[in-house]
């Protein structure tokens, strides 16, 4: 699953091999543990359960709904958090007024607000997209604002001396200057949007993988439960690993 952005050095390869070895050891430990306790499904059974589920149209519909909701939440988080972070980074006054509120809102366990969202946005896509948005919004907003604030003054003087238009300043100077923090925000927002959506589905929803996990739990289908959780973790892991490597290359 190692993305093509891996550094081609021998040292980098050794580290990647070590990381893969950690995963292999974890699977071996899992295999041994499954023989010690009857509640732990064997790794092979779990992979077979995943194969079985991926042939089930109900599971695929749930997967589709969860991923679409997470994608929508992520896109909204970027569309709202990016410009808001930009405004917050550029204006000192906005920072003074809003940063305590943002810090506070960021610290709230947002999932408890889900019952508040339900009557307003309903059980379908609406509520979980909004919850995913609440999870994903703050890392984008805070990292963008921090990135803009830390731009060296000389960049702004350069823009002025070249008589760059506002648009040129934004696309040629500002965005390249904050690409590192922005990518960090994007990386956190991707996995947090997914987590927000799945946690909402754990609570109450009509369709989605979170619901499938909990119904597998209550019917004692532990192989199906573990495989669905691992599928979700694998998706979030692959995306954030790819973005993390990209982030390191960009710096």
């Amino acid at each position: 699953m190692s993305p093509a952005t891996a550094p081609p050095t021998r040292d980098g390869c050794r580290v990647t091999a070590g990381s893969v070895a950690v995963a292999v050891i974890a699977v071996i430990a899992w295999e041994i543990a499954s023989h010690l306790s009857f509640v732990i499904p064997e790794p092979l059974d779990t992979f077979l359960a995943l194969g079985r589920d991926l042939g089930d149209p109900r599971f695929l519909a749930g997967l589709r709904e969860t991923l679409l909701a997470a994608l929508a939440a992520f896109v909204l988080a970027m569309l709202i958090g990016g410009p808001a972070g930009l405004g917050l980074g550029l204006s000192r006054r906005a920072r003074v007024v809003f940063s305590p509120i943002i810090t506070m809102l960021n610290g709230i366990p947002k999932i408890v607000l889900y019952p508040v969202l339900l009557p307003v946005f309903h059980l379908g896509y609406g509520s979980k997209i909004v919850m995913g948005l609440l999870f994903g919004l703050f890392p984008v907003l805070i990292n963008t604002a921090a990135g803009v604030r830390e731009i060296p003054d000389v960049y702004w003087r350069l823009a002025r001396s070249l008589r760059a238009t506002r648009w040129q300043t934004l696309t040629r100077i500002l965005l390249p200057a904050i690409r590192g923090p922005l990518l960090t925000g994007v990386r956190l927002a991707v996995s947090l949007s997914l987590v927000g959506v799945v946690l909402s589905e754990f609570f109450a929803t009509e369709r989605g993988l979170g619901r499938i996990v909990l119904s597998a739990y209550s019917s004692g289908d532990y192989a199906g439960m573990v495989s669905t959780i691992l599928l979700l973790i694998a998706i979030s892991f692959a995306l954030s690993l790819f973005l993390w490597r990209l982030e390191r290359r960009v710096r």
């Binding site: 580290v15 305590p100 947002k110 999932i111 990292n143 956190l188 909990l214």
Partner: protein
Amino acid sequence: MNVRAPDTPGARRPSVSRAPRRPWSGLAGAPAAVVLMVLAGVVAEVGAAAAWWAPDVLPAPSDLLPAAARIAGSPRFWQDALRTGAELLLSCVFGVVAGLGLGVAFWKAPGAGRVFEPYLVSFYAVPLVLFYPIAIVLIGINQWSVVVLASIMTAIPMTLNTWTGLRAIPPVYLRLAASIGCSRSQTLFRVALPAAAPYVVAGLRLGVAYALIGTVAMEFTTAQAGLGYQVRYLYESFDAVGMYAYILVIVAVSVLLTAVLEIAERLLPRGRDT
């Protein structure tokens, strides 16, 4: 042995690094936050009075506050608060100790650190709550399944920040420690960790925040007790006023905790310098 910290450019991560700030800057906006909250309360009151929405969607604050006061006096509330508080405290203690240890270990053995780094970065805090259904199968629906996962959630930012902070120490500090014949533990506790303190404290703040978010989220998913569990229970028994009162309490606790940690983070590294 490790006199020089490896100077990797990827080591600096804005999400974990501490922005240099004056301790009280930003608190000037606190009145704005209060005004906004009061405004939201007024809108909620007027909206409920004018029946813009059904009373179970958002009860009027004038109904909510007495209900919150009543709940705060009930033994059931204190049981739940104590349960959540104990889970939070245990997770923070375990997570901070484990995170500090791992951070130091990765600094001493950078190879091991780099091998585990992709996992730490990808599981950074919140995605771990997805493992909660597995934890309740393994451990049972009790406080320990929450504590185990919340401890890991606390340990990850602690590990990454401690490690980053130790790598950022100017090499001259360690050369000084070596030249005056510091023992290994003296070098670690008297030189290296104090020098990395700003990062460690930032990691502590993140870790405690994630422990709270994770604990409440896991209780909210399934549990037998706890503040998060009560929100779910009252939702399912259609007690909108009680549910909102608990949500209000959770929000108040998290705001308080965030404020305390924020102020502590601004004070501690300063105290070290002077």
